[in-house]
């Protein structure tokens, strides 16, 4: 949340940088991809790139040295050792932490409302205060639940598919 605030307001404070917007004829498009949206996007990309790269690093380092050596003595070039021997094993190992991170990302999108990006929770709050009804908020919760549930099922399927061998 703090990162989003800093990325959206920070550049403007230290220089005269303004987050760019698309000026198109389509009104809804302009509203959807506002400067705020782009700032939130940049913040998420930077944040999650770090987490994901850390997961990948851990996965690649967890492959025993013997696998590389076995490839080397067979005369397989380095790039192919990585592509055909190491990477398939890495993917299997990092799938579980990856699924965690993806699900967290879905939930974290609600943070973007802090800079007034019109994402689902922001809109729900607006409708709620306009109509004085609790239901929009409730539906939003249900939406998150279903979305995360679907992702969980998907990743479980993938994991099952990759469990044809054990390490």
């Amino acid at each position: 949340m703090l990162q989003i605030i800093i990325i959206f307001y920070g550049p403007g404070l230290v220089s005269d940088f303004v987050w760019p917007t698309f000026e198109t004829a389509n009104e809804t498009f302009n509203k959807l991809f506002s400067a705020r949206f782009i700032a939130a996007l940049v913040a998420f990309v930077i944040n999650y790139a770090c987490y994901f790269s850390e997961i990948f690093r851990g996965g690649i380092e967890s492959i025993p040295k013997g696998q590389y050596e076995a490839g080397q003595v067979l005369g397989i070039p380095k790039g192919k050792i990585f592509l055909h021997i190491v990477l398939p094993q890495v993917i299997k190992r990092i799938l579980a932490p990856m699924s965690n991170e993806v699900i967290t990302l879905v939930k974290d999108t609600s943070l973007a409302r802090i800079i007034a990006v019109s994402e689902i929770l922001f809109v729900a709050f607006n409708v709620m205060s306009l109509t004085a009804l609790i239901w929009p908020l409730f539906y939003t919760g249900a939406f998150y639940l279903i979305f995360v549930g679907l992702l969980t099922i998907l990743f479980n399927l993938l994991e099952k598919k990759l469990s044809y061998y054990k390490v």
Binding site: G66, A70, V73, L74, I76, P77, K80, K166
Partner: protein, 286 residues
């Protein structure tokens, strides 16, 4: 002139000298066994031969051609090392099979991937054959022919791999993954995999150390079968009986030097050095 000549191999890890000048020769079709207590540098020697470690000094000659020279080792290109590696096959103590592929694919993988090495020449040959075709069509024909050739190449490899697996007695386990195989079977797959690239010399790094006595038997049987097929082999082992039976030359290593070398009768029958006598007495007491 010997088939394999190793001269003055020295290797240091930091300040500890692991190999202090190793010399030996090996004729084609012979089996060399290296025995010795743990930490005497046997494994390091094999790793140096397979370019997994770079020796600080010494030369390795194969068939009269220098394939490793400690003085110039650092400036040798990766591609050349990869090429020289194919002279040696290595079977690891801990198998190191690829868990995501089944037994057959494990054996086929390296030959299949080595297709790329010949791709440039083939491309040229195909291009010359189709020189008359217009621009777009030439590339398309080239692509198609390459793909067909690759398919044929993979099919051939598959047949070869099946034969190799039959040879190590695993014809019925071809489609099993390494996690479904016993230790002995895994090691036999590893032997087949090492044979797949057609090495001139096959090295075994304590192939039976991770196995129980029963499984050891089946692996040793395979190695004996290879000996009957006139393969040149270097075996590091702790199985004294096996070393006695199978080898033509036995080397006893201690503290990074060759303490004693000779035919198995000499080494096991009338050991000269004090260290070897103590080592053999210890291993007999077990």
């Amino acid at each position: 002139m010997a088939f394999l000549e190793v001269k003055g191999i020295e290797k240091k890890f930091g300040n500890t000298e692991v190999l202090k000048g190793i010399d030996f020769e090996l004729e084609k079709g012979q089996v060399l066994t290296i025995i010795g207590s743990s930490g005497s540098g046997k494994t390091t020697l094999l790793r140096c031969l397979n370019y997994l470690e770079t020796a600080d000094q010494g030369t390795v000659k194969l068939d009269g051609k220098v394939i490793f020279d400690g003085a110039t080792a650092k400036s040798v290109k990766q591609a050349e090392i990869a090429q020289n590696r194919l002279n040696f096959g290595l079977v690891f103590q801990s198998f190191n099979l690829f868990p995501q592929y089944n037994a057959l694919k494990n054996v086929m993988l390296a030959p299949n991937l080595s297709f790329k090495r010949t791709v440039k020449e083939r491309k040229k040959a195909i291009a010359e054959k189709n020189a008359g075709l217009p621009f777009g069509k030439k590339q398309l024909v080239c692509f198609r022919e390459l793909r067909a050739e690759k398919k044929a190449w993979c099919l051939e490899n598959r047949k070869k791999a099946e034969k190799l697996l039959e040879r190590v007695g695993l014809a019925d386990k071809m489609n099993n993954y390494p996690c479904e195989l016993s230790g002995g079977q895994q090691q036999r797959v590893a032997i087949a995999r090492a044979l797949a690239m057609g090495p001139k010399i096959l090295c075994f790094d304590e192939p039976t150390s991770a196995l129980d006595p029963e499984l050891t038997g089946e692996v040793l049987k395979v190695i004996r079968g290879l000996k009957n097929a006139d393969s040149t082999m270097i075996i590091v082992t702790h199985e004294m009986e096996f070393a006695k039976n199978v080898s033509d030359v036995v080397i006893f290593m201690a503290n990074g030097v060759i303490e004693e070398a000779g035919s198995p009768e000499e080494v096991f029958g009338s050991p000269k050095s004090e260290k070897l006598r103590a080592f053999l007495a210890n291993s007999n007491n077990k």
